[in-house]
């Protein structure tokens, strides 16, 4: 079995050391997890392995032989395959055609024709190896995210890759898809493939990996066998300080009902009834695709309500647009900040100012001075870390982006906040800050409805939890009933 080794890897970008003397040992047939906060240097290290970046010093060895990667194809030829979070598949092509791209030589016949038969045979056997029950002629666009990932893994195997690097592979997968992926990864490991697994989800690391390496600020802070460590120890290593309470829920003193849905139906959801009191964090959980986001969209005025009533502070409301919902006091933090949360080319200041432009204008004239003062105030109170408020948000880290995406609503002084996956793609340290911010809002008497796929977070931060199944509320848990077992019972419809 082949081994992959990196020794003394150092990488500097314009004088800033992002990787300092990193050594990593990937034995054949093992799964090594790589964890660390955003910006710890994981991606840089992986890009060096994948041949996309060259280190300033240090070397990569395969079976003891030093390697020189000048390009991604050098690394590919050496047997290293990288599966990025954003998959490199062609949605408009079939599975077989995806296998063909980049490997045309293997299926070429004279005159530039394709040997369709050989291609089909090869694809069929590979699909079986990765456990994907699909026809090679199926369009990749029709596949789920998990299936597309398996196509990429299959392509890597086809290229005889001995080292597989996966970057946050489960970020967009359902529970089912995740367990299927794990099954495949374990079987690949048993066949001698070495795997480097990057993840924010520590539970997965413990479920899957044989050993774990922790990076922090470009330094390797720990490299240990999985049996020798614990989740809380990993968190401490990643953050560099001890976090005593992962989910700092504060005691609630809920006031009157601020947000009430009574048998609300939209084109998708039906008969949704729920309440959120002032000064309360209420969780909204359920499987992916169960209808959680659709409920949030109805509250935020994005999807029209066709039956039932929505009340805000006891007053029936009918929002025709997000603009109306916002004016009434409902703020909506969407689940994908890059898709619909932030204006990426805008600066942090311009993003923060966007929902409240009118409050700082005279005859439509923007007061630069007031806007700057406002942005500075938000930056300080949210502890947004940036070089300058004029820096485009697209260049901020995930945690800081999320703070901007959330923070921009606060100046509207909403009565109710709907937070869809408020800590997705955010590292442990920034998570804590977002939790603290949510607690501050709770103390101020805001009604908060939080959607989360992270079950420990959902149960840990919420005062009560509603479970969504089949586009309606399937159950409600509070107090001692708020356990993962009870939650899953409702979420899956089991007894």
């Amino acid at each position: 079995m082949s081994t992959l080794k990196a020794t003394g890897i150092t990488k500097t970008f314009s004088g800033v050391t992002v990787l300092h003397d990193i050594s990593l040992d990937v034995p054949g047939g093992k799964i090594v997890a790589l964890v660390g906060e955003n910006g710890a240097g994981k991606s840089t290290l992986m890009n060096i392995f994948a041949g996309a970046l060259r280190p300033d010093s240090g070397s990569i060895l395969i079976d003891g032989q030093p390697q020189q990667f000048h390009s991604v194809s050098d690394a590919t030829n050496a047997g290293i395959a990288m599966i990025y979070q954003e998959l490199n598949v062609f949605l408009n092509l079939s599975i077989a055609e995806n296998f063909l791209i980049g490997n045309e030589g293997a299926y070429a016949r004279s005159g530039g024709l394709i040997d369709r038969h050989a291609l089909r045979e090869a694809v069929m056997s590979t699909l079986e190896a990765v456990g994907l029950r699909r026809n090679p002629d199926d369009l990749v666009a029709d596949l789920g995210v998990g299936e597309r990932q398996l196509v990429e893994i299959g392509k890597a195997l086809r290229r005889k890759s001995r080292f597989l690097i996966l970057d946050e592979p489960t970020a967009a997968l359902t529970e089912q898809e995740t367990s299927r992926l794990f099954l495949i990864l374990r079987s690949l490991r048993d066949q001698g493939v070495s795997i480097i697994y990057i993840s924010h989800r520590l539970a997965e690391v413990f479920e899957l990996a044989d050993s774990v390496v922790v990076l922090r600020d470009g330094q390797e802070v720990a490299s240990q066998s999985i049996a020798e460590t614990s989740e809380s120890e990993l968190v401490t290593q990643m953050v560099g300080r001890q976090i005593t309470n992962l989910y700092p829920r504060i005691a609630s003193a809920p006031g009157k009902v601020a947000l009430r849905l009574d048998r609300v139906s939209t084109a998708k959801t039906h008969d949704v009834s729920l309440t959120v009191r002032a000064g309360e964090i209420v969780g909204l959980g359920g499987m992916m695709g169960s209808g959680r986001t659709e409920i949030a969209r109805a509250i935020a005025g994005l999807d029209p309500i066709i039956a039932g009533t929505l009340e805000l502070d006891g007053e029936a409301r009918h929002f025709r647009s997000p603009r109306a919902a916002l004016a009434a006091g409902v703020a909506f933090l969407t689940e994908d900040r890059k898709y619909d949360g932030l204006v990426l080319p805008f600066s942090a200041q311009q993003n923060l100012a966007l929902p409240t432009l009118d409050t700082r204008q005279r005859f439509s004239w923007i007061s630069q001075h007031e806007e700057r003062a406002f942005a500075q105030r938000m930056r300080d109170s949210l502890r947004i870390k940036l070089q300058s408020l004029d820096q485009p948000v697209e260049r901020l880290s995930g945690g800081n982006q999320q703070k901007v995406a959330l923070g921009k609503w606060l100046e509207r002084n909403p009565k109710a906040l709907v937070l869809d996956e408020p800590t997705r793609g955010v590292d442990v340290g920034a998570k804590q800050e977002i939790y603290n911010l949510m607690n501050d809002l709770k103390r101020q008497g805001k009604a908060i409805l939080m959607i989360s796929s992270d079950l420990p977070e959902l149960l840990g931060m919420s005062d009560r939890v509603y479970i969504v199944r089949d586009f309606t509320i399937a159950g409600e848990l509070d107090g001692h009933d708020m356990t993962q077992v009870e939650f899953m019972r409702f979420a899956t419809g089991g007894k």
Binding site: F13, S14, V16, V18, E37, N38, G39, A40, G41, T44, D217, G218, A300, L302, S321, P322, R323, L326, A327, F332, T334, Y339, D340, G341, L342, V343, L344, P345, F346, S347, Q350, A353, L354, P355, L357, D358, Q361, S364, W365, I366, K385, L386, Q387, S388, D390, Q391, P392, E394, R395, L396, S397, G399, N400, K408
Partner: protein, 325 residues
Amino acid sequence: MMKWIDQTKRKTTSARFNLGWMQKYHLGPALGFVIIFVALSITSRSFLTVHNLLNVALQTSVNALLAIGMTFVILTAGIDLSVGSILAFSSAITAGLLIGHVNIVLASVIGLVVGALAGLLNGLFVAYGRLAPFIVTLGTLTLFRGATEIYTGGVPIFNLPEAFSSFGAGALVGIPIPVLVTAVIFALGLLALQRTTHGRRIYAIGGNERAAFLAGIPVKRYLMAVYVICGALAALAGLVLTSRLGSAEPTAGFGYELDAITAVVLGGTSLFGGEGTLWGTIIGALILGVISNGLNLLNVNSFYQDAIKGVIILFAIMLDRKRAS
């Protein structure tokens, strides 16, 4: 600290929002303009004269007006291919009214209103019909040209009153009136885009329409507005052109949309919306004007002029993209 330092190493795509006024005012195109300007000053004796430079400014004013309107549209990630046809149609209407002895101011205002209404039609289809701007304005490009031909019967409308021509031919303290008009429109547009809530919202819609909608911005109204602005400015460009020529031609403005788009793109505005400035656009328009003027002065065969112009445009855009990355 490290957290964001390594993020800043990634390549920069946004020039407008970077630190420093160099990038803020998009000096890539400005540099290109200066180079061409200096080169022509050296190679042609008649280029660097007050008379010629005023002539360049005058010749640029029609395209500059179109390009200013086009910038509003392109900032929202849209496009308006119909400006040349709107120019012709509104000019024909104004000219028709003028030979019918309608008051000059009234006829001009009606021309501008016709342009704005034509833009409104584009805007309605784009904002409320949710149709692709390219397709909509490709359709109205033909529609308005057809309307112009029907209205004029395919023949130019001339014998316009002297007073109307004096608008295009006249000057104030030595500066041609069309240049002054363009300068005022430019200044107003610049202030609107950079300093007002409306401008900020137009940028936001181009940068991320969904995020803008969620932030309570009435996206449809703004989308409609930019096409109205673009249509009205096309009509204004038409008034300038008609008064300079002394007649309204049914073929006026043919292909002008491409020059306007070229000026906007040369100025560094992204066709994907959300990024760019009017400074860039005006410099883009001046580059085009100076190139045409210079090639004429150098007596370059007109067959070669277009080819040379194309090469310079490609080169300038390449330089700009290199600098931005």
